[in-house]
Amino acid sequence: MDNAIDQISDEQIALKVQSGNKEVYSQIVQRYEKRFLRYGRKFFSNNDDITDSIQNIFIKSYININSFDASRKFSSWIYRIAHNEFVNYLKKKNKRILPIFDLDIIFPHLAVDKNNNIESDLDKKYIAQELEKFIDKLDIKYKEPLVLYYIEDFDYKEISDIMKIPISTVGIRIKRAKNLLKNNIENAK
C-alpha cells in the first residue's frame, strides 16, 4: 500500500483526499515538510516559528483541499498557502513584509533593469549555492522569488500564482535579485 502511494503524483493524492480517503494526506505532509522547512528558513531564523507555520500550512491545505483544481499543479497550490502563512506570520511578528503596491507590480516595464547580462555569468546551480550563503542580505521582496526559482525549482508562471503578482514582475524581481546577489558575491571576494 505504502509503495503504491509513493508512486502516485501529488495531484492524485489530493484527489483521493477530496474523495474521502483522509489517511493518504499524511503522504502530502511527508513529501512537503522538508521543502517547507527549507523554504521557511528563508523567512525565519527561529525554528519554532518555522514549525508553527508549517503545521498551520498543512492544517489549512487539508481544510481547503476541495478548493484545489486537480488539473493544476498541486505544488503551486500548496506553496501559495505556504507563502500566505509565512507572510502573515511575519506580519504578526511585526517584521518587514512584502509591499502591497510596488512600481514593479503596477507597471513592470518601467522597472526593467538595463544591466541584465548576469544570466550568462552565473548558471542556475551556482546561483543556488551562492544564494544559500548570501540569502540573509537580500530584501524579502527579492529573496522569495529567487528562492522559489533557484531552490524550489518553480517557473515564472508558477511563482506568479504562488505570490499573486504579474509574471513580468517575477522576471524583474529575479533579475534584480541576481544583480544584488552578484554585488554581494563581488564584495565578499
Partner: protein
C-alpha cells in the same frame, strides 16, 4: 529534524482522525466563487451608473461650457466639479481592482493594465448609457420617485452655482433678455454691458451675475452651442409634487 517531521506528521494525522480539522465542502468554494463574480458584476454596474451620472451632471449643469467664460469659468468649473461623486467613483474603481485581483487572469498581468481596462470599460459603457434617456427620465420625474432617486436627481444633480445661471432665451426685450431655466422659472436678464446681437430667441445661454428674485444683473452672457435637448420643454422638471 526527524523528530520534527514525525511530530508534525503525527499531529496532523491525529487532528484529522479526531475530527479536530475537517475538509470544507466543495459547495463552499462554488458559492464563494459565485458570490465573488456577482459582487464584481454589481460593483461594476454601480461604477458604470455613477460614471454616467457624473457625465449627466456635467451636461445638465453645463459645467463643460463654463470655460467659454474665460479664466473665471475654468476656475468655476473646477470649483463646481462633483468632487464627492468623483472621489466615490475613484474609491469604487480601487475596490473593483482589489476584487478583480482575485482572478488569475487579472493578477498575472501588470496592475496598470487591469486598472486601465476597468477605467476604459466603465467610461465607454457610461458614455453609451448617457446617450440613452435613463438619467433624463429620472431627472424629469425625480419629484415623483422614491427618496433615493429624488435625492440624486432633484438635489445632487441640481447645479448649485449661485452666480452662474443657464437657460433658454424666450424673448428679447430691448436690451434685456427673458430666459427660462430648467425649473421653468422665467428670469429677466439685465446686462450691465452692451448686449451682442448674436444672441437670438431660443438660444441657450450662460449668465454670470447675482439673481435677486426673478431678475439677474448680468456681468457676462455667453451663448452655448447646445445640441442636446436639455433645455427642451420636455426637460423641464415636472414639479407635480409642488
Amino acid at each position: 529534524m526527524q523528530n520534527n517531521s514525525k511530530n508534525i506528521k503525527d499531529k496532523i494525522s491525529e487532528m484529522i482522525n479526531n475530527g479536530d480539522i475537517n475538509i470544507k465542502p466543495k459547495f463552499y468554494y462554488i458559492l464563494k466563487t459565485i458570490l465573488l463574480i456577482i459582487a464584481t458584476i454589481f460593483i461594476f454596474i454601480f461604477a458604470i451608473f455613477l460614471a454616467s451620472f457624473v457625465y449627466f451632471y456635467f451636461k445638465i449643469s453645463l459645467l463643460w461650457a463654463l470655460p467659454i467664460l474665460g479664466f473665471a469659468g475654468v476656475k468655476a468649473m473646477i470649483l463646481y466639479l462633483p468632487w464627492v461623486l468623483i472621489l466615490i467613483l475613484l474609491a469604487i474603481i480601487v475596490i473593483l481592482e482589489f476584487v478583480a485581483e482575485q482572478f488569475s487572469f487579472v493578477y498575472k498581468k501588470p496592475l496598470l493594465y487591469s486598472l486601465f481596462a476597468i477605467i476604459i470599460i466603465i467610461f465607454i459603457t457610461a458614455s453609451l448609457i448617457s446617450y440613452g434617456k435613463m438619467h433624463e427620465n429620472f431627472y424629469i420625474t425625480a419629484n415623483n420617485r422614491n427618496q433615493l432617486v429624488k435625492y440624486l436627481y432633484a438635489d445632487v444633480a441640481e447645479p448649485k452655482m449661485p452666480n452662474i445661471h443657464n437657460g433658454r432665451v424666450i424673448e428679447i426685450i430691448q436690451k434685456d433678455l427673458l430666459m427660462e431655466n430648467r425649473r421653468g422659472d422665467k428670469i429677466l436678464v439685465k446686462p450691465l454691458f452692451e448686449l451682442k446681437r448674436d444672441i437670438v430667441k431660443d438660444d441657450f445661454v450662460i449668465v454670470v451675475g447675482k439673481r435677486i428674485g426673478n431678475v439677474i444683473e448680468a456681468l457676462d452672457i455667453k451663448r452655448v452651442n447646445q445640441n442636446s435637448n436639455f433645455f427642451d420643454k420636455n426637460m423641464m422638471r415636472k414639479n407635480i409634487m409642488k
